[in-house]
């Protein structure tokens, strides 16, 4: 699998899906940042938490 090429495809397809124009000359920068983001997200994911783990933000259904 060519991860680098996959990322190029991901940027093209995902950007189109959310109607986000990405100029050709921005793509190397976007890709470099996406690589960092995915690498760091993988670091987070390696830490296993139970299904019951709650995310940090808490929503309260009440009058402000």
């Amino acid at each position: 699998m060519d991860t680098s090429k996959d990322l190029d495809t991901l940027i093209d397809v995902a950007a189109r899906a959310i109607d986000l124009p990405v100029e050709a000359e921005w793509k190397p920068g976007v890709k470099a940042h996406l690589e960092v983001l995915l690498r760091l997200a993988a670091v987070v994911e390696q830490f296993k938490l139970p299904d019951e783990a709650e995310p940090a933000p808490v929503f309260e259904a009440r009058h402000a």
Partner: protein, 461 residues
């Protein structure tokens, strides 16, 4: 009064009548006029508004009525705070087209209610997604200790204005370190309060999960003065807690007796320059802190903070990225686009980890009252610098500036960054306390300042 008088000294002089508020403000305005061309800290100066407020204060005093604890103290705010009649720039080009703000942010209103006088708005990194204090639209804010160096960011002007003696007090914001980094590079005291302590209403957001506001000053007492004046609930910010004011000033001089202080090891020692380690050693020695503790999974916390920042920041700016992408700083734009493309599940996972990490770190506070860690891995880099040597390895500069601040703000712990006056450049140490214990961090900062171990050094001119 010299430009180096503290906010407390200015307020005492104005309260006693030794100097009028108007004379105080004229001095500050003249100082800004003389130095801002070099430092590029201010993006707007509200001279007439400040003079009017100062005259009003002098009239109140002439009537024999008391003034507040910050009487006549000139202050300025990062340009993401709403200031009535100014567009809220948040360091961007795009926001210049916003209509002027109708009202001041509540923190400005609270400081002014205590007698302080707003004199202007300050330069910052674009949309606060920055650790350098550089800005492609307004030019870089410059470090008063060496104007060829970074102030640190994103509250760059907030650092430069106070370190350069333009004002004794400024406000900044801190999502991942943006108060503590400029405090470190500029040699200042900076307070990032507990998440939810100070209202963020009417300030331009960045990452709602992580955004904090707070003061920078040249003394610990000034931080406490400003912090106490700004506390209190605010229904306009859903994150701001409904908690009574817990003033830090009354206990400020209680000393360090009985406080258990430890040094953060492991992650917080790796990647630190000799200067950062020297600063920690000095502070630890002065506080008798011999114990070293580990904040478990701090590196992962930093990774999770990065993911939440990129994705939430992307959500905030998605419409602008669609329609105005060419008007962003390319460095900001590319990071935000990457955040918009990343799968949402990754951000939620990071939020799950955040709760686990909070529970784990809070247990550490069962055994200590405060933890010391470097504020930045190194002293102020040169403007435009792209890489840094750490442990003999060349690393990219920008992503490494916040490695020690991010794991702390990630779970909203209160921190006072204290300046250690190393030569030629100062560097900061974080005093990290348990949630809602800003008083502990401020008390330790004050004790260190009294012993001159922590000190905001006066820059050359």
């Amino acid at each position: 009064m010299t430009p180096w008088a503290s906010a407390s000294e200015v307020a005492a002089a104005v309260n006693s009548g030794a100097q009028s508020a108007l004379a105080t403000i004229e001095l500050a305005l003249a100082r800004i006029e003389a130095r801002n061309g070099t430092l590029n800290a201010f993006t707007s100066v509200v001279a007439e508004r400040a003079r009017a407020k100062a005259r009003a204060l002098d009239a109140v005093r002439a009537d024999g009525k008391p003034l507040g604890p910050l009487a006549g103290v000139p202050f300025a705010v990062k340009n993401l705070f709403d200031v009535a009649d100014l567009p809220t720039l948040a360091g961007s080009k795009i926001n210049r087209e916003r209509p002027p703000a109708e009202r001041d942010s509540p923190l400005i209103a609270r400081l002014e209610a205590a007698g302080a006088v707003l004199v202007g708005a300050l330069n910052m990194g674009e949309y606060a997604y920055d650790f350098t204090g550089e800005n492609m639209h307004d030019g870089p804010s410059r470090n008063p200790h060496d104007t060829g160096r970074m102030t640190g960011g994103s509250s760059g002007g907030s650092g430069g204005a106070v370190a350069g003696g333009l004002v004794p007090l400024s406000l900044g914001s801190d999502t991942n370190g943006s108060i503590r980094v400029p405090a470190s590079f500029c040699g200042l005291f900076g307070l990032k309060p507990t998440y939810g302590r100070l209202s963020r209403a009417r300030s331009f957001p960045f990452v709602a999960s992580l955004d904090h506001l707070g003061p920078l000053a040249r003394s610990a007492r000034d931080l406490a003065l400003a912090y106490d004046a700004m506390q209190g609930p605010d229904p306009e910010d859903p994150v701001c807690v409904d908690r009574p004011v817990e003033p830090a000033l009354p206990g400020l001089e209680r000393g360090t007796q009985g406080l258990r202080v430890a040094v953060a090891g492991g992650y917080f020692k790796r990647g630190a320059s000799p200067e950062a380690l020297e600063a920690i050693d000095r502070i630890a020695k002065a506080l008798g802190a011999t114990r070293e503790i580990e904040l478990p999974e701090a590196g992962r916390a930093r990774a999770a903070a990065y993911v939440i920042t990129a994705t939430e920041g992307a959500a905030l700016h998605l419409d602008r990225l669609r329609t105005r992408a060419a008007d962003f700083d390319p460095a900001t734009r590319d990071r935000l686009i990457a955040g918009a493309i990343a799968p949402a599940a990754l951000a939620i996972k990071a939020q799950k980890f955040r709760r686990w990490y909070r529970e784990t770190v809070l247990k550490v506070f069962d055994g200590v009252d405060a933890i010391l860690a470097p504020a930045t891995p190194f002293t102020a880099p040169a403007l435009g610098q792209q890489t840094m040597m750490l442990d003999g390895v060349e690393v990219p500069l920008r992503p490494n500036i916040g490695i020690f601040t991010q794991p702390i703000s990630f779970i909203g712990l209160p921190v006072v960054a204290v300046p250690v006056p190393l030569r030629p450049l100062p560097i900061g140490v974080q005093i990290i306390a348990a949630p809602w214990r800003e008083d502990v961090a401020l008390r330790l900062a004050y004790a260190l300042e009294k012993e001159q171990v922590a000190l905001a050094p006066r820059p050359p001119e």
